[in-house]
Assembly symmetry: C2
Homo-oligomer: 265 residues x 2
DNA sequence: CTTACGGTTCCATTTTACGAAACTTGGTTT
DNA sequence: AAACCAAGTTTCGTAAAATGGAACCGTAAG
């Protein structure tokens, strides 16, 4: 977390700290963390504010996150996330199953939701895109973990808290066994491991070369549909994930070997 | 355009440039812009990548925007934008008018859309939140410009391109007169100034102290509803904007009630 | 008037970033 | 195969910056 990347790293660290508060924050609160001396912190905040990554309310003297982040993130979401490519598939899956569908990617050992569609309310927005969740106890998280190359998987696993959200939450050992099963089966199940009464089935989205790009899941509340109802969707989720992977490949890397020859500049 | 804020400023400038491509970009493409020498650009990209603001695909050697931006923006949107507070009002307005409703804020002289609701499709997502538009020829933009303090208004106006998107687009002089009218009337009209066939009515969202927080608008396609149809919604939009402003005040500055009144002028 | 506190500015010192040039890598031409 | 070239990476002396302790300012309380 505290990667020392010179001045830029410090500035982004401060940005993260402000974000972590989840509310506007005063200079003195940040100073009280003791991370940076007064003058240094002051200048970092000045720069971040002047750059629009933070906003400063002169009346209250509080710093909040700046709207430039929203602008940048829109570009990030539109060009680098799976969401735009996956949208039609995700929509169709939600329609077929009549359940909430999530699209997620990995970001720093955590699950980052990049899209969410519920069959009733239609596409949900920003409030869902950008949310993060644990990797070790969600369907999408486990689906991605299972297909990570061993070295990376190890690194990500080392970052997990293994906090027991529910009685069904797996510990590190049980997770290992589950990941094995997921690799064999191609789909991951979350049986109330993160939230009581919530179950889901997820599948990893892989590139042609087998790299993990993300994951899709179908979520259901126990009782309405039950785990049995979801079981029938497993194959559908897997097919959808595969289709998204192929589209992503075509969209992001529009041909490889042959194109190179023609491409001169 | 880019203020020279030391190393951090440069890094963010590079980030913006990558974002501007709207696609993954090679080191050499950025280098060819001639903005930074090789080694400097290289190190800036290294830092941004290691920080997760950019992602680097080792296969293709291309840089794209990183998912950390999406995570940060979610926090920004949820804590610093008007969207969460305004959501119920915006929803209700869309339901009453049966038209598309936009919520926007100012960001660096441009209009930044932070939410959008269409009565049919329901809430739209990220693809709308984060999009930017011109301030001088959109309803929301003009509504905000009109109520900016003179000094700031001048600064923002100086940044406008006044490109004539349509025959109805106002020039600088006509805009000045329109802003006067908007201040008197409390609502702004966009009569096909930005897109042919698209009209809208907007109102500014003000804090109790009169500071511009954002704007709401109702948009319609000419022919279906016409400008006359929209005219009937003007008062509704204004009331909605006022309600949002009050909620925002209560939410962001819970205890500041009496201070603000004294602070007028 | 005095003290205390949050925030801002100064400036000598240290650290960091800079960038021309050298080098490495992988693919293409002679 | 050797020479070549372009893209990307590393080096290193120098130049520029960030740093942070201390002084300063404005406001609110004692």
């Amino acid at each position: 977390m505290a990667a020392r990347d010179g001045t830029v790293g410090k500035a982004l660290d401060v940005l993260d700290r402000v974000a972590a508060y989840g509310r506007p924050v005063r200079f003195s609160e940040l100073l009280a963390e003791g991370r940076y001396p007064k003058a240094t912190l002051y200048r970092l905040l000045q720069v971040l504010t002047s750059q629009g990554l933070l906003s400063h309310d002169p009346d209250t003297g509080q710093y909040g996150l700046g709207m430039r982040l929203v602008r940048l993130a829109h570009a990030a979401w539109a060009t680098a996330s799976l969401a735009p490519v996956a949208r039609p598939h995700v929509d169709a899956l939600a329609a077929r199953t009549g359940q909430v569908v999530h699209l997620a990617q990995l970001d720093g050992g955590q699950v980052l939701y990049v899209d969410k569609v519920s069959p009733r309310a239609g596409v949900e927005m920003f409030s869902a895109s950008g949310r993060i969740g644990p990797a070790y106890c969600t369907g999408v998280g486990k689906a991605m973990l299972a297909f990570l190359p061993p070295r990376e998987a190890e690194a990500v696993l080392a970052q997990q808290s293994f906090h027991a959200f529910t009685p069904a939450t797996l510990d590190a050992a049980a997770l290992g066994a589950d990941l094995e099963r997921i690799r064999a089966e191609g789909v991951a199940w979350d049986r109330e491991e993160h939230e009581p009464g919530i179950v889901c089935v997820a599948a990893p989205i892989l590139s042609r070369g087998g790299r993990v790009l993300g994951a899709v899941s179908v979520t259901s509340a126990l009782g309405r549909d039950g785990l049995d109802g979801l079981a029938g969707h497993g194959e559908d989720v897997r097919r959808t994930a595969r289709a998204i992977g192929e589209d992503a490949q075509a969209w992001r890397f529009p041909e490889r070997a042959e194109m190179r020859i023609a491409e001169r500049g």
